[in-house]
């Protein structure tokens, strides 16, 4: 095999309390696409950020062409030819496409001014290669998400990379755009560029890959040539055990209908011309766990945030245990028994300046008030009980929340919601950024709460979870439910085709399924 351009040896990375990487070896070879697989929190993005100089490893070595290097910045890595396309867009919305493309590497004329003409020409050329005919003077903020992602890709291409790292480059791309991207990748590898590819769409990643690397829980668990493996093998390596042990079995006894949503329409808070939820109807009964599976942009988060009272609805009806919810605040909805565990723990779930205990009691605080003041003993008792119930591993309730691992932080957010004594629990991607062990705990918690008679509605973008956790799975695409399945009655292929919307499924409601941005290649999975 060819000598790798970039090698990493025994890379470890410790964040706060979490070991994100535990001694990982990695190599990127010229002319080959290496696809990196792993669940959320497996360490894929961290590893890529280290290779691209954005993060520094806690221990371990990186070498380029056999020479050891220490990258102090992304710029330093880019100068040696290692370029990353970020998962999160890192564009300036207030600048034009061409300004973004050359940001920090402006072409300069002899007089020292920015060479607008050269930049515009190069920008137009690269956009044409990506088959995206947009005026380079357009503001990035005016582009739709998929186009912005292409600009991000174009920027990386302009840097003449020898190693090109793509972290979820297709999350907002449409199918034809993905095809163009794949063609570009093939051209690059033909020129001897090493490409590292990460995607949640496993089949898509396997399609483009030459080499396969699987990470689990911060460790490298398997490497193989793409031709030798199939999707099933990859999933087994990713999960690392039989799905049964991760997903608890349970008997469901359904009670009354606690949450009922009829013809709900929610405008997209980021773009008012678009509907995030477009006429959605669903019911959740006491004791039931309902899952919502959908790709990015399907409207999962918007639906839960609208139910929680965070974003306004346009029309439709939401009933909580039969009572109509109108314009109640988040606070009122919590008081009536509806609480959301948000997707982004750091941004929406936790107050980083407070302790574990203070975070836990925050939402249910008023239940500890006695004659104007907080009863410390009541609060402490409830906090201690919840820490035990949701199995948070912490040395003390007084520890700063940042000292906990991702999984334990997630348990704190869930515990906080349970302390409000909810009837309906909404969880947005409850397993995101949580390691495998804690994941099982989180699912067990959900099952336990359903057993106690709560109605549980959660979203997921991971097929394994969608297949095994919920009693009933709804597939969401473009703000509508395009498929409904009982547990055990569907396969991974059903899910892929329903969520991608490209293959009609018998389980899906009548009407032509909508096309969304995802490349689906069925038949790869065995």
């Amino acid at each position: 095999m060819t000598t790798p351009i970039l090698t990493a040896e025994a890379i470890t990375k410790v964040f706060g309390g979490t070991h994100a990487l535990k001694g990982v070896d990695f190599a990127a070879r010229p002319g080959r696409v290496t696809a990196l697989f792993g669940e959320n929190g497996a360490g894929k993005s961290t590893l890529m950020k280290i290779l691209a100089g954005i993060e520094t490893p806690t221990t371990g070595h990186i070498a380029v062409d056999g020479e050891p290097v220490v990258f102090t910045s992304a710029r330093a890595a880019a100068d040696t030819g290692i370029v990353i396309i970020h998962q999160e867009l890192s564009l300036c919305a207030n600048l034009s496409i061409e300004d973004n493309l050359f940001l920090g590497r402006e072409r300069i004329t002899a007089a020292g001014a920015v060479d607008r003409k050269a930049e515009r020409g190069a920008a137009a050329a690269i956009l044409r290669r990506l088959e995206e005919e947009i005026d380079p003077r357009t503001l990035v903020g005016e582009l739709r998400l998929g186009q912005q992602q292409l600009v991000e890709i174009a920027r990386a291409l302009l840097q003449d990379a020898r190693v090109l790292i793509m972290d979820e480059p297709t999350s907002a791309l449409s199918e034809p755009e993905v095809e163009v991207l794949f063609r570009m990748i093939r051209e690059l590898t033909a020129d001897g560029v090493a490409v590292v590819y990460i995607s949640h769409h496993l089949d898509e990643a396997l399609e483009i890959a030459d080499d396969v690397v699987v990470l689990r829980d911060g460790s490298l668990v398997a490497t193989a040539e793409a031709d030798d493996v199939d999707l099933g093998w990859i999933v087994r390596q990713m999960v690392g055990r039989d799905s049964d042990s991760l997903f608890p079995d349970r008997n469901t006894e359904l009670g009354d209908e606690l949450l009922s949503i009829t013809d709900l329409v929610v405008p997209d808070p980021a773009n008012n011309d678009r509907l995030a939820i477009d006429g959605l109807t669903l019911r959740v009964r006491a004791g039931e766990i309902v899952g919502l599976y959908g790709l990015m942009g399907a409207g999962r988060t918007e639906l839960l945030e609208a139910l929680a009272g965070r974003i306004p609805i346009q029309s439709g009806e939401v009933r909580l245990a039969g009572e109509l919810l109108r314009r109640e605040s988040i606070r009122d909805r919590i008081a009536r028994g509806l609480m959301l565990v948000p997707e982004d723990r750091q941004r929406d779930g936790l107050v980083q300046t407070m302790t574990v205990g203070e975070n836990l009691s925050l939402a249910g605080l008023l239940t500890f008030v006695k004659r104007l003041f907080l009863s410390k003993s009541d609060e402490d008792t409830a906090v201690a009980r919840t820490i035990k119930d949701v199995t948070v591993k912490t040395s003390s309730p007084k520890s700063p929340i940042g000292a906990l691992s991702g999984g334990n932080q997630q348990k704190v957010v869930i515990g906080k919601a349970l302390l409000t004594d909810p009837r309906v629990l909404l969880l947005d991607e409850p397993s995101r950024g949580v390691d495998v062990g804690a994941k099982a705990d989180v699912f067990a918690l959900m099952a336990e709460q359903a057993q106690r008679g709560l109605a549980v509605l959660f979203t997921t973008s991971e097929a394994e979870e969608a297949l095994h956790i919920p009693d009933r799975l709804l597939v969401l695409a473009r703000g509508r439910i395009v498929g409904e399945f009982r547990r055990g009655a569907l396969t991974r292929e059903d899910l892929m085709s329903a969520s991608g919307g490209s293959v009609p499924h018998t389980g899906a409601p009548a009407g032509s399924p909508v096309k969304t941005g995802s490349s689906v290649k069925t038949g790869d999975a065995s």
């Binding site: 470890t12 965070r310 300046t353």
Partner: protein, 407 residues
Amino acid sequence: MSTATTPPPTTERREAAASAAAQANRLRLLNVAFEARAFIALAVLVIVFTLLSDTFLTVTNVITMTKHVAINGILALGMLLVILKGGIDLSVGSIVGLSGVVAGELLGGVTLFGVIAYPPVWVVILVAIAVGTLVGAVNGILVTRFNVAPFIATLGMLYVARGAALLISDGETYPNLGGDPELGNTGFDFLGGDKFLGIPVSIYLLAILAVVFTVLIRKAPFGRWLYATGGNERAAELSGVPVKRVKARVYMISGACAALSGLIIASELTSAAPQAGETFELNAIAAVVIGGAALSGGRGTVRGTLVGAFVIGFLADGLVNLGVSTFWQILIKGAVIVLAVMLDQGQQRFQKRGAAAAAAAQTPPAQTPPAQTPPAQTPPAQTPPARTTQAPTGPAGTDESAKAPAS
């Protein structure tokens, strides 16, 4: 699979643990020093000034200085709440001037339906505080309802309140706020002039407010909501915290505190100038920051703020006492503020390191014998910083445990 390193021999381990414990101890000591830095600064100030001047540490001088501190201290307590919320209140200095002017105007008589009425002093005080609260309410509405950045909203009210004070007074100073016995409105000078057991009333007011605020932010749900809003507004809102109400309240409280300060000043001088209180907002902010509060919100204490106010007050009066020129005083004050914030950054880095160390030490399950890390008392700094001393054992340990279910 990465190769798991074999655990080091027991003696080596013990040594590593011991050195780690020693380092943890050093970390903890440093942390305590950081936490108490405002106190230490105050103590240093007192010692230095006492050595340099015979008249500094005398009962009368300390009382006089504390009286000065009270004015800024009351402003700073209001400011603390705003800063805890993650905001800033630039309008307090102007409210000081406005409330004095309102008091002066009322004590001079108000014409109602063609009759001149002379409201009693308690009414005057209540009205002046109500005016300050009202200005704060406007700040609050601008910030919560119209999403104006706190800096801009309160900067605007800085000018509006000052302009109002100048308009009401026509730019003149109210020379005599003593009142007239025949009109029944005497006694306004009690706020700034009267003493009880040899201590001026304003010092009692500061003490009472400090106690009330401590109880408010530590015992009442409002306080927890305040810290949560300042720490992470989005998370607080999703947890059902009435974020807007909390925000509006703190500006009102800050306005009321500023009005009280203005009354004390007017009472001390028995006169009210519309220019009173100019740049006082900056002294208040400085006191809060020196006291360890984070301008980003969510962190800060009443105790720290009080100490901060004392540092600023004692520094200013001590320098005057020594005869240092005003120009030097200004320069030194600026240096102290910057130094305080630099120390604050240092402390935050420190606490993060401590927390990371504590968590890293916890991660390998059941690998370390329990005797090494006492679980009963574990603030972050106590546990060894595994990052430097135990790096090889940590990851290897978790590696093994992760392997177990796979096989």
